[in-house]
Structures are given as C-alpha cells and as structure tokens.
C-alpha cells in the first residue's frame, strides 16, 4: 500500500496500478500554523481524501489533532517528539487517532541528534503500548531510495521493546484498517457508523 501525498489545490487523480499489485491511497499531510487553520482545512478536505495526517509542530495543534476524529494520523517531526506525552496519548487513544512514525525522519536526522531522537522514540512507544494508541510505521519515502522493506522497518522498531505482532500490525494491518474505514465512510452508500445503504427503495 502506497500513500501518495497530493497537492490540495488540485483534484486527486488515482494512478492506474492494476498490473503492479500496488494499492494507491490519496493522502494529505496538513501542517497548520494555528488551530483555526487546522479546523478549516479539515472541514474542506475530509471528504476529499482517504487519509489525513497532521504534522504537529505545536502543543495546541497536537492536542486538537489528537481529539479530532477526522484526523487519521498524527506525525511528529524529530524536533517535536516531546509533544507526544501522556495526555496526548490518552486523547489519541480515545478518538482512535493513530500515531505515525516516519522512518525517513529518523534517517535524515543529524548524527549527533539521533541519540536524543531514539530515546524520545522509546519513551513514546512505551506510552503507545500503555494507552493502546494505534501505531503506524511508514517509510515516508519521497523517492525510490527512501523506500524500505516492511519487515526491515518492523525489525528496527522491535529494538524499542515492541513485540513482533505489534510491529507487523503497525506496518500492515493498522494502515489497511484505517484506509478501509475511510473508504467506507467516503462511499455513497455510507449513512452513519454501522449503517450502510444496501439498496434504494423502488416504487412499484
């Protein structure tokens, strides 16, 4: 499954991948400057994209994003990993918002800063396990050289004390579930949570 980050000013065109055994998902990464701007963007974009991720760069945005059910993924750049604390984990767990850990962020971080980032990551993963926050691990690739094998990513995150089942879910099951849930919500037959239009009434 490949999440393609698209330009929000233009309509998303699905790529034809029928022969490639690849599933393409349209996603948007929001990097709002204020909470107001985040709410405004969510209102407009939720019905257009299958995945919405919020890059949290301040505490207020992180808190709002964790509480809002319209947000699918929370992303924390290496410098703001400290924003993911106990309260944030509780909010995210309650709203079913997943935490996305981007391998590209870890790969491109400065050598000296990497130790700090890894220790923050360990702290975060303890909170994720404690509060049952859904976890998504992605390569975050912007080109072909950024791609990594899912099992290689899983192997790396196992070093932080996660079980094999947890990391494999984070690279496969959890993202798939999120996308399927959103596709169902975006379909025309969706009425409400658990309610789906099977067929329309026909007047005889």
């Amino acid at each position: 499954m490949v999440g393609v980050v698209t330009d929000i000013s233009q309509p998303f065109h699905k790529l034809d991948t029928t022969n490639l055994k690849v599933e393409v998902v349209g996603r948007v990464n929001l990097e709002p400057s204020s909470t107001q701007s985040l709410l405004q963007k969510l209102r407009v974009l939720r019905r257009k994209f299958e995945l919405i991720a919020v890059i949290c760069k301040s505490r207020s945005i992180a808190r709002l994003a964790a509480r809002d059910r319209r947000v699918d993924l929370l992303m924390f750049p290496p410098k703001t990993l400290g924003l993911f604390d106990e309260v944030e984990a509780k909010f995210a767990s309650k709203a079913g918002v997943a935490l996305e850990i981007n391998f590209n962020f870890l790969l491109n971080v400065e050598e000296n800063f990497r130790v700090k980032v890894f220790s923050e990551l360990e702290r975060i993963l303890v909170l994720v396990r404690k509060h049952g926050v859904p976890l998504v691990i992605s390569s975050g690739a912007t080109d072909v050289y950024g791609l990594r094998a899912p099992r290689d990513l899983a192997a790396f995150f196992q070093m932080f004390g996660l079980s094999k089942r947890e990391v494999l879910d984070a690279v496969s099951t959890t993202p798939k579930e999120i996308v399927e849930r959103n596709r169902e919500k975006l379909s025309k037959d969706f009425v409400g949570v658990g309610v789906r239009l099977v067929r329309e009434k026909v007047d005889w």
Binding site: F103, L107, D143, V144, Y145, G146, L147, R148, A149, R151, D152, L153, A155, F156, Q158, M159
Partner: protein, 111 residues
Amino acid sequence: MVKLYRKRYLLFKVLSEKSLEKNIIRRSIFESFQKLFGVLDLSCAKLVFLEYDKEKNLGILRCSHTYLDHVRACLAFIRQINHEKVACFTLRVSGTIKTIREFKTKLLEKL
C-alpha cells in the same frame, strides 16, 4: 557437538544508480551495524558477507539467528554509499545457503 549459534542467510538487494563494488558494500554494511549497535554486538552477530553480484545488485549475508533483526535494521539504515543515494532491502531469509541460492536463481529467472 552442540551448535554454538544457528545461522541465518539473508538475500539482499542494493538499489542504486551506479553499480557498486563488493568491498564498498561490505564496508558500508559493517559500518552501519557498528554505528547502530556497536562493536560488541557486531562481534556477537557473527556477521559474514558471503557474496555479491555486482551486475544484479544482489548479495548474501550470514549472521546469528538472534541478531537477524539487528542486521535487517542496519540494512534499512544505509542511505548513502560514496555520496550516492542507495536503498538496501532484505528479499529473503533462510536457514540454509542452499535455499537462499535456489531462491536467488528463481528470482533471476523471473527478472
């Protein structure tokens, strides 16, 4: 005699624009492992670079089964070799060299 450690063989692929020399690949894998886990783990991992096909960019590594995840992680952390952007993937893990070579042959036939 009791085996001291169980072996695991990894078939990996290096994705790069230029074809890279065997020694350069070997050095960068060992450096990546050492940078991530240190010299002590590198010695415990019993990491051996067995072979590398320069044309197909496929290589085989051997390590101890307890350090398999460490080796996979160190491969994922390689992003540049000789100022060239690269990506390393594990394609297959096996307990015997015979199986991994068979898989490699089948893979090359498909390509």
